[in-house]
């Protein structure tokens, strides 16, 4: 049994903390279509939480609810113990929830470094004049922010493309730059929308390693969506399984793998 405050210890011995994000009875409709039907689950401090399910199960919708791009018709979102009023995506981002996108949303015209630096926008406080003149507080702030970004860039091993315009990068690297931008904001919760989509096996392995390292090194809480079952099972501490907008399973990878409903959803049921 999970305790609301206490958390738990994972199979590999990591201590997981209290609840960061609590989704309660979320229902999301688009016109007559119900994308999410009465789903509740939580995300705990320091864990890697996966949301999986077949195509059209409502995974991305769920992520968009968490990051404020969609507002659910019913249900409540609790972030760090407080009920969250409906807010715009940029307000959610300022609360410390960073995300990546399934189809990569980078600033194509900017260099990799500039892209990563945009992750620090919400942390910059200096006045506009001192920034333009590059004096006083602004200079100090820029240096500090730059340091954090360089650390992230080093960590994700993209130093060699720091100055390259993003538009010129191959797909796999773009995905990594997007992760770097999200990490640069030092998020309290990091949302990854299909971080491995469209990658080859080698790139997938790299990305898995980075996700694990980020979680390990910075203690970042991560929620990710993926439909590659194998990858998810290796990466995550707990898994939510969705199908047709409903939650059909929730637990450790081991529990989920043995859940009959999940097996049916993924492998199909014979109707005889």
């Amino acid at each position: 049994m999970l305790d609301q405050e206490q958390g738990y210890v994972t199979a590999d011995g990591r201590q997981i903390g209290g609840t960061v994000m609590d989704m309660r009875n979320i229902t999301l409709r688009f016109g007559g279509v119900t994308a999410i039907k009465d789903i509740s689950f939580d995300i705990r401090e320091g864990e890697i939480r996966a949301i999986i399910g077949p195509n059209g199960a409502g995974k991305s919708s769920m992520l968009n609810v968490i990051s404020g791009f969609y507002v659910p018709q019913e249900g409540q979102v609790y972030f760090r113990g407080e009920k969250r009023a409906p807010m715009r995506p940029y307000e959610v981002a300022r609360q410390g929830i960073a995300r990546t996108f399934q189809n990569i949303a980078l600033f194509e015209g900017m260099s990799v470094l500039d892209n990563v630096m945009t992750g620090r926008l919400t942390q910059m406080k200096a006045g506009i004049l001192s920034q333009a003149l590059w004096r006083g507080k602004a200079e100090k702030e820029e240096v500090e922010n730059r340091e954090i970004c360089e650390k992230v860039i080093d960590f994700l091993e993209i130093q060699h493309i720091r100055k390259t315009p993003v538009a010129r990068l191959p797909y796999g690297l773009k995905k990594r730059v997007e992760l770097a931008r999200a990490l640069a904001s030092e998020p309290k919760l990091l949302l990854l929308d299909e971080p491995m989509a469209g990658m080859n096996v080698e790139e997938k392995e790299d990305m898995s390693r980075f996700i694990l390292d980020v979680n390990d090194e910075f203690g970042t809480t991560i929620a990710l969506i993926e439909h590659d079952m194998g990858v998810v099972m290796d990466l995550s501490d707990r898994v939510v399984v969705m199908d047709y907008g409903r939650k059909i399973g929730d637990g450790t990878p081991e529990e989920v793998r043995n859940n009959q409903e999940v097996i049916d959803a993924y492998l199909g049921v014979s109707h005889d």
Binding site: R88, Y90, A93, F101, A105, F107, E108, L121, A126, A182
Partner: protein, 328 residues
């Protein structure tokens, strides 16, 4: 030195100066287009409106005085003060920021994610509205604008060139001031967009709305900011053109002169707006000088557009614009 060449040099210099003024208008277009993908047809009218407002504030004119007098039967026209130019410009800037906010809240907030053509149509509507609104507010008569900029022939250049070529160049002081101000303006704009947080956020919004939201950038704030900056550029252009040829309706037509500049320079490039303006300015003056007498003159009316057409055929993205590549 042959006389013709000396004349050509003078024409060339004057062309550069005229080009700076075109560039000032084109800059306003580029700023808004870069940041929000809107081609702002109203940019010329914004320059007119800002110049009218500046004159009105400096002269202590009562806004909407005709309307007030007609409705209430009163006879108010002036507050009876004359403000210094600096204060007038500051107050006008406040009005332009207010206008930027109104434009965002009343029009463009409701048109997010619409087709570019719809946004363009909205700016046409905005242009006509502001034209009428400006007249209603400040009156439609031609006004004289004097913010204390030097005008008339620059004697130093006249004398220096006379000593060298035996022929004094006529360069207007106002054009020289305009050149310096335009250079400063570009410097400030570049510093703003490259080195400030707001500038970085602006470039982010221009590039990808979704991604900008995900890093905590408020789109509506940035848009108000961009329209304010465009209002500021319009004010600078309005002051220059207004001082040169008076504040009147034809001021709004300078926007049409900015179009060929944009086609040359590219819609997305600030340096492009400057270089494009200079090329058009120099090109049309030299063309008029060299070819004009042969074909009967008045080439300045159409030269810029023909040049732009040629560019459209051979380099549709302009000199500095982003190349449009479509992957198949």
């Amino acid at each position: 030195m042959p006389e013709q060449l000396v004349f050509a040099m003078e024409v060339f210099l004057n062309g550069l100066m005229a080009g700076v003024l075109y560039a000032l208008v084109a800059l306003g277009f580029v700023l808004i287009y870069k940041a929000s993908g809107i081609f702002n047809y109203a940019q010329g009218v914004m320059a007119l409106f800002s110049a009218m407002t500046l004159v009105g504030i400096m002269e202590g004119q009562v806004p909407f005085s005709h309307l007030i007098n007609a409705m209430l039967g009163t006879h108010v026209h002036h507050f009876g003060w004359h403000l210094p130019a600096v204060l007038g410009i500051l107050l006008t800037m406040v009005v332009m920021v207010g206008l930027a906010w109104l434009v965002q809240v009343v029009i463009f907030r409701h048109l997010v994610n619409q087709e570019p053509i719809i946004l363009f149509m909205a700016t046409i509507g905005l242009a006509y509205f502001m034209e009428g609104f400006g007249d209603l507010m400040w009156g439609a008569e031609i006004k004289k604008l004097d913010v204390g900029l030097p005008q008339g022939i620059n004697l130093w250049i006249d004398e220096t060139t006379f000593n060298i070529f035996d022929y004094g160049f006529f360069i207007d002081n106002l054009d020289i001031v305009a050149t310096i101000i335009a250079a400063l303006l570009v410097g400030v704009l570049v510093a703003f967009s490259q080195y400030t947080k707001q500038g970085r956020a602006m470039r982010a919004v221009a590039d990808d709305h979704q991604a900008a939201l995900s890093v905590g950038v408020s789109l509506s704030f940035i848009w108000v900011m961009v329209w304010s900056v465009a209002g500021f550029v319009a004010l600078v252009a309005g002051i220059m053109w207004g001082t040169k040829s008076g504040v009147q309706f034809s001021l709004s037509l300078i926007a049409l002169k900015a179009l060929p500049v944009l086609m040359l320079g590219g819609f997305t490039s600030i340096p492009g707006a400057i270089v494009g303006g200079l090329i058009i300015g120099v090109g049309e003056k030299l063309f008029e000088f060299a070819i004009g007498p042969i074909i009967g003159g008045a080439t300045e009316n159409w030269f810029a557009y023909v040049l732009a057409l040629v560019f459209l055929v051979f380099r549709p993205q302009g000199l500095f614009g982003d190349k449009i590549i479509e992957r198949v």
